[in-house]
Subunit: 330 residues, 6 copies
C-alpha cells in the first residue's frame, strides 16, 4: 500500500499544558500539517507513506523532516531550499475556552515553490493513493499548480485521489477556494467534506443528517465524477462534544456511531478521519467498516498531544468496537 501526500509541514509552537500564549515561557516544539499528519498515521499503520514538500536548508527544515522520519514517513521527496519554514502558534484551550491557532506561514519554502521543482513521476511511481487537502491550494496560485500537476501525475500512475476540502477562511476567500475546489474535484475519487462546506460552496442544504451525505455524494458524482463522499459531523452535547462520520457512494450511505470527544488535544482530528478512511478504502474494507474506523480514529486522536495520530490501528479498532479497560491496560 503506497500512499502519497503533498502539502506544507509547519513548525508548531504551543505553550505547555493549558497556559495562554501571553504567559508562556516555553513552547512545545512539534511539527505538523494536514497532509503530513495523514502520512504519519498511515505509516504508523504499516503503509508505505510518502510526504512531498519543500523545506529550507538548515536545522529547522531538517527537524521537520526528522519528525516525519521518526514515525516512518518516507521523506525522500521533500525538497530543500527557500527562505523559511512556515509555523503556527497553538494555544491549547481548557474547559470552555477554545484552542487558538495563529498562522505565521507566509513566504514559506513550500508556499514559494514551483511545480517544476517536483519530480512527480518519480513520486507517484507505483503509488496506490494520493491525498490532498484544501489547505494546499489556499497557499497561492503556484501551489494550486503544484496540486493540479500532482493530481495529473497521480492519475497517470493509476493512483486513487482523496481530497479533503478543509476550507480555512483565514487563508483565502470563498470565491478563490471555489475556483480551486472545482478544478481539484475533477480529479477526486474520494471527497471528504462537511455540511457547512457543501452549503457554502455548492449550495447543498440537506434537511436531515441521515440523508445529507448521500445527497452530497450524488451531487459530487454527477458534477465532478467523485466516487465516494465522506462527511464529518460535530455536535455540542452539554459541555462536551461528539464526532461522527458518514460515507456514501451515492447509492448506499453509512453513518458511524457518535463518539463522545474527550482528551488533551483538539488538532488533527480531521486528518485522523482522512487517514482512517484512506487506510480502510485502500485496504478494501467495506464502507460501513471504513467510516466506523475513520470516525473512531478521529475521536481517539483527541487523546494524543500533537498534530500526529500516534495510535495503533488495534487501539482504534478496539475503541471502535467499544472495548473498555477500566482505565488501565496491563
Amino acid at each position: 500500500m503506497k500512499i502519497v501526500t503533498l502539502g506544507e509541514i509547519m513548525l508548531r509552537l504551543s505553550p505547555a499544558g493549558a497556559e495562554r500564549i501571553v504567559q508562556a515561557d516555553s513552547f512545545c516544539v512539534q511539527y505538523g500539517g494536514a497532509e503530513a499528519n495523514v502520512a504519519v498515521a498511515l505509516a504508523g499503520w504499516g503503509a508505505e507513506a510518502f510526504f512531498a514538500s519543500k523545506v529550507p536548508y538548515g536545522e529547522i527544515g531538517q527537524s521537520a523532516v526528522n519528525a516525519l522520519k521518526r514515525y516512518g514517513v518516507d521523506t525522500k521527496f521533500v525538497l530543500r531550499g527557500g527562505e523559511r519554514l512556515g509555523l503556527y502558534y497553538l494555544e491549547q484551550g481548557a474547559g470552555q475556552r477554545p484552542s487558538k491557532v495563529i498562522y505565521d506561514r507566509k513566504g514559506s519554502a513550500f508556499a514559494c515553490s514551483a511545480a517544476e521543482e517536483y519530480d512527480f513521476d518519480a513520486l507517484f511511481a507505483g503509488a496506490d493513493w494520493f491525498h490532498l487537502t484544501g489547505i494546499t491550494p489556499a497557499l497561492g496560485e503556484n501551489v494550486q499548480k503544484i496540486a493540479e500537476s500532482a493530481c495529473r501525475a497521480a492519475k497517470r500512475a493509476g493512483a486513487k485521489i482523496s481530497f479533503d476540502l478543509n476550507y480555512r477562511s483565514s487563508l483565502w476567500s470563498k470565491e478563490e477556494a471555489k475556483r480551486a475546489f472545482d478544478v481539484l474535484l475533477g480529479y477526486t475519487d474520494v471527497c471528504i467534506t462537511n455540511e457547512s462546506q457543501m452549503r457554502d460552496f455548492y449550495g447543498i442544504m440537506p434537511a436531515a443528517r441521515e440523508e445529507g451525505c448521500g445527497y452530497a455524494a450524488r451531487f459530487l458524482k454527477e458534477k465532478f465524477g467523485v466516487g465516494y463522499t465522506a462527511f464529518t459531523y460535530r455536535k455540542t452535547v452539554g459541555t462536551g462534544e461528539t464526532v461522527c462520520g458518514a460515507l456514501s457512494d451515492g447509492t448506499a450511505s453509512y453513518m458511524s456511531d457518535e463518539f463522545a470527544v474527550a482528551g488533551v488535544e483538539r488538532i488533527g482530528s480531521g486528518d485522523a478521519f482522512a487517514a482512517g478512511l484512506i487506510y480502510s478504502l485502500c485496504g478494501g474494507e467495506p464502507l460501513r467498516a471504513a467510516v466506523r474506523f475513520a470516525a473512531a480514529a478521529s475521536c481517539l486522536k483527541n487523546t494524543v498531544r500533537g498534530d500526529f495520530c500516534l495510535l495503533d490501528k488495534e487501539e482504534i479498532a478496539e475503541f471502535a468496537q467499544g472495548k473498555k479497560y477500566f482505565g488501565v491496560k496491563r
Copy 2:
C-alpha cells in the same frame, strides 16, 4: 477610565499540575492577591489600572511588581521597604480533591505598613473608581486605617468605591470582620457579597435566590447607603459546579445565566467577577449586561492558570453570548 486598587500582593507557590505539595520538587512562581488580580484584569481590558501596596526591596518584591507591570498595571504607587513579601502555597486540586491554600503572609511589608506612608491624594488624582476587598482590613488595624484613609481620599477625588466582602475565616474572626465591614460599607457604592456573608454578618436570609440579591441591596442601601449590591452563587451539579451572579440597585435585580465551571484553576474567579462588574459599571453598561459580563468572566477565569484573569474582553463577551468554536478558533 482610571481605576485604583489597593491591597497585598503575594508570591504564590504551587506544585506543577496536580502534584501534591509533599510530592513537589518545584513550585510554579506566580504573584497574586485579590485587588492586584482585579487591577490586572482591568488593565488587560484597556483601563488605566493602578495598584497601591508595599513590597520589600530586592528581587522578590521586584518580581511581584514586574508581574503587574508585565500585564500593564501602573505600579508607581507601590512602596518599597519592610521585611518580607507575603506568600501562599497553593495545591491545585484534581477531581474531587479540592485545591488547598496555605497562607504564610504574617509580617509582610504591606501588612506592617502605615497609612502615613501612602500619598493617597496623588494616588486618587483623577480616579474614576476605587476597589477594595475584605482581605485588606483583615491584615490588621494599621491596614484597616490604610483602607479607611484610602476610601476617604477616593471620595474626595470623586471616585466610586466597590467593596468585595471576601471574608476569610483563617485571617480574622467574624466579630473583627463585622466591625471593619461596617466602617467600610459606609463608603461603598458597589458591594459584592454572597448569601452566606449576608447571613453571617447581617442576619439576612432571603428565602429564594431570585429575590435575595434585591433584598440585600435594599438592606445595604438603607443601612449604609450602598448603591448597588452584587451576589455570586455557586452550586454543585453532579460532579461539577456552576456559577452565576446577580446585581441589584434595590429596585431592579438581574440574574446572569448559570455557567458550568470547567478548566484548570480554581483561584481568582471571584476577582474576575469584581473586575467584570467594575469594568461594566464604570463604562456605563446597563445592569443586566454588567452582571452577565461579570459572571462570564468569573466562569471563564477557571480556564486560565494563575491568579490573573488573562482573558480578552472579546473572549468573555463571546462566551457570555454562548458562542462555540468546536474546540479550535483559527
Copy 3:
C-alpha cells in the same frame, strides 16, 4: 499498630502528562508496587508500617528504598543484592484512551530472592497485621515459598493476614494462580477480591451485586476459613466510571456508596482500598465504616499522581462524608 507488607517494589517510568511513550523525551521517576503502596498509605495515616523486599546495591535500589523512607515506611527489612530492580513503564491514558502498563521485571532482585534470606521472626515481632497480594506469588515458585513462609511467621506472631488476590494475567496462568491462591487463602483472615476473580477461580457467579459479597464470604469462610471478604466494583457510567466496595463477615454485608471516579491517575486505586480496609479493621472500626473509608480512599486515590496514596485520613474521611469545598480549601 504495626503492619507488615512484603513484595516487590519497582521503578516506575512514565511520560509526563498524557504523552504517549513513543513521544516521550523524559520519564517521571516514581517507585511503587502493590504491597509497598499499602505500606505508604498506612504510614501516612500514622501506623508503624514495614515493607520487606530485596533490591540491588547501588543508586537505583537505594532510590526505591528512599522513596519509601520519605513517606515514613520502615525499610530496615529490605535486603540488598541481586542483579536489578524490576521496572514498569506506565503510559497515562487520556479521555477514552486507557493507561497502559508494560512490565520489565524479570530477573529482579526480589523475584530471584529465596525464603532463607529473610529473617521473618524479626520482621513480624510484635506485628498486628500482614498484608500480601497475588502479585507476589506470581513472580515464581521461590517467591511463593517466601510468601508462605511469611504467612506462617505472621501467624506465629499472632498477626492478622489480609490477601488481595490481584490476579495479573500477564504474569502467570490461571492454573498457576489458583494453586498459589488455594495455599495462601488457607492463611488469610481478610480476603480482597472482586466478581471476576471469584468467578474465574472459584466458579462463584452471584446473580446480584448486593448479595455477591456475602455469598463469596460464606464460600471463602467454609473452604479456607477466611474471616472477612471484601469486594471492589467498577462500573462505567456514561464516559465516566464509579467505584464502590463491599465487606462481609459471611453474616452481615455492607456496601459503600458509589463514588464517581475523577482525577489524574489510574494506578494504585485497589491498593488504596486495601490500605483503607486494613487501617479500619486493624483499628477496630465497624464493618460499615471500614468499607466506606476503603472505598473513599480508593476513589480519591485517582486524584494523586504516582502509585502512592498520599492522602490524609482526614481528607478521605471528609470525602467519604460528602463534604464539599467548592474547589478551594483555605
Copy 4:
C-alpha cells in the same frame, strides 16, 4: 534621564540548556533585539527608557511588548499592525561549539513599517538620548528612512545620539551598510564600533590596540563630527575569551581592564556595553569610569540567560571593582 531607542524586537526561540535544535522538544520563549536590550538595561538602572517599534496585533506581539513592560520599559510608542513578529532561533553553544543564530525576520511588522507611521516629535519630547544600531537600517530602505527621521527628530529635541555599527553580514552587503552608516554617522554623537568594522568600512587599520580607538575617534570626528568613539575588543585566551573596551574623545583615550568571559549566554554582550556607556555618559561620568562600567556590564551579561542585561548597576560596579564573594553573597 529619558532615553529613547528604536528598532525591532523579535521572539527568540532556543532549546533548553545545551540541546541542539534538531534535538529540541521545546523552545525557551524570550524576546529581544539590539535596541530593546539597551532599553531594558537602562530601565533596570533607573532611567526612563522608551522603545519605539511596531509589532502585530494579537498574542505574539502583545507578549513582546509585555516582556519589555515587565522590566520597566515604556512601550507606549510601540505601534500595532502588520503581518508578523520577526523571530530568531538561538542554539546555545557548549564548550568549543559556538552558539548559532538563525534569523526568520523577513516581512515583520517593523521591517514593513513606514516613517510616517511614527510620531517622532512626541517620542523625543524631553529626551536626553537616542540610541540606534546598524541592525535597524539593515532591514530595508523604508527602515533606513525611519532611522534617519528619528535621528532628525532626536536632534530637534536636543538629544544626544549613540550609534552602534553592529554590522551583520547575513542581513546586508558591506556596500549597502556603508551607504547607510555614512548617513547615520552624520547625526552621531557617540559611535560604538570595533577594529574589524573600522577596517572594513573606513579602511582604518591602527597598528596597536592602545592607539586604535583614539585614531578612529579622530577619524570619525573629522569625517562625521562624531564626539566620542568606543571600541569593544574580544580575545581568545586558551579555551576562554576576554572582553575589554576603549573610549576616546579624539584627545584622550581610556582602556578598561580585560575581563575574562564566563557564564551561560553569549548573546547581548555588545548591547550591555552600549547600555553601560550611555548610562555613564548621560549621567555625566568621566570617560575612564564610563568605559570601565560598560566593559564590566558587557562581561557580566554573559552570566544571565536571555537577551536582556538583568544586572543591577551595583552588581556591575562591584564586579568592575573586582569584589569577590567566594561564590555566595548572603
Copy 5:
C-alpha cells in the same frame, strides 16, 4: 555511631539552572539548613544521625521532615507546631556572578520554640556526638537557651560536641555573636572556624597559613578547653577557587591538599567539611586522614545540587586520593 544535630531546617527556593530570581517562573524545591545538612551526610555514610528541630503542622513542615527521612535521618525528635517554616531564596550564580541568598526565616517554628519543649535526655540517650553551628544561636535568645541546654544534655550523655562558628552577619551583630560563642565554646570539643572568624572574634591573626590553625588551637584550648580546632581556607586562583582544611590538637597540625573547586552548587560546602570531620574523628581516624576526608568532602560537595552532601564515602575517599576516571565510571 549515634550523632545528634539540632537547628533549623528551611525550605529552599531557587530558580532552575542559572536563571535570576526576576526571570524565574518556577523554583526548585529543596530543604536544608546547616545542621540538617550535616545529619544527611552522616546518615548517608552509615551513621545513626538524628536531627532535632521544630516545624509547623501541615504539608510544608511535613515535606521538610520527609526530605530528611528520604536520606535516612531519624526525625523522631522534630517537634510540630508554630506558625511557619523558615525559607530562603537562592539564586545560583554563574561565571563571575556570585550566588545570592535571601533569608525569609523570621518567626519560624524553630526560631520561636523554647528549650522546655525538647526532651533532650531522650534525644541524647546513647549519643556519641552532638553537632551545632553558630547559625542556631543567631536565631534569638530563646534559641541560645535551646543550644546551651542541648550542650549540657549532650555532656551528661557523654557525647563529644563539635561547634562550627559559621558567623552570618545578616542574622546578628558581632557583639551578640561573641557573647554566644563564648558560652558555647565552653562546651566544645571540636571547633570549626576560619581565619577571619578568629581575627574578628578573638583578635588572632597568625602570620602564615601553616601555623595559623595550630596557634588558634592552642588559644581555644587554653581559653575554652577546646580539644581540636579545624580551619577551612578558600582562595581565588585565576577565575577559579580552591578549598583546603587544617586540623590541630594544639600540638600537631595537619593541612589537607588544596582542592580546585568546580561544579554546580556553592551551598553546603562548609557543612560537608563538618560532616567529614565528625565522621572521621568519631570513627577514630587519625587527624591527617580526617582533615583530608573533610576537605575532599567539602570540595566535592560543589558537584551536587542542593544543600545536602549526597556523596558516598567511597566517592569522597577516591577523590581524596586523586583517582581519575576520564569522565565516566562504568
Copy 6:
C-alpha cells in the same frame, strides 16, 4: 557509501543536568549503543547507514527504532521479538565528579538473539563497510556467533571491516575478551584501540606515544592482517582533559592535534572517533586528514547531549581547522 553496523541499542535514562540518581524525579529518555551511535553519525554526514539488531515488540522497542529513523539510519534490518530492551542509567558528572554508567541489559532481545535470525546476505548486499565494537561479543557466546557470521558475510560482500576493541570490564573478563578479539581481528581491516588495551591484551607497551600506534599497527598487521590501526589518547591537563588520535598503516603514522575537551556530555566520544575515521577512510581521505577529522569529531562530541554525534561534518571540519566564532555563529 553504504555502511552497516550491528549491535545493541539501549534505552538510556539519565537525570536532568547534574542531578544525582538518588535525587532524580525524572529521567531524560534517549537511546544509544556503540554501533548505533556510529550509524547515526554517518547518516548525518550523508552516508547510507544501516543498523542491524533486535528489539522487543511494543512501544519501547519502537521508540528505540524511531530514535534511529529520526536521524536517518535505515532500520529495516532491526528484528522484533524477545523480552526486553536493555537499558542503562547514566548519571552525568559535574566538576571532578565523574559520570556514572549502570547497566541493566541482561536478557535483552539482542543479547538473546541467534545468528540464524539475521539475513546477513541481504544486510550486506552492496555494503562498503561494516563496523563492530567489542561490546557486542561481550554480550554472550550466541552474540559472538552473530558477530562472526556478520564478519563473514561482510567479507563475502566485499565490505571493509572496522573493529573497535572497546573493552568493558563490567561485561566480561579479559580472558573471554581476548578469545573473542583474536577471532574478530582476523576479519578486521581497521582496528581502533588504545594503549591500555594493547598492553592488557597483547602485551605491547611502546615506550613513547609517537611511536606506539605504528608499533601496534605493525604488530596487528603481522598477527591478524589488520590494515590500519588507530589509537585514541586521553590526558589530564590541570582540571581538564585532552583527546587526540593516531592512525597508522604500519609504515606511516599520523597524530592529530591534541584537542581540549569541554562541554556537557562524556558519552559517545569514542564512537564519534570511529565514525569520523570510517567516514574519512571510506571516502578515500588521506590518513593524516582522516585522523584529524576523527579526533575533532571525538572532541566536539562532548558538546552534544546524548549518545549521538549530532554534529555536521562542516562543523567538525571547521573545528579541526581551528576556526573561531567568538561564541556566536550568525
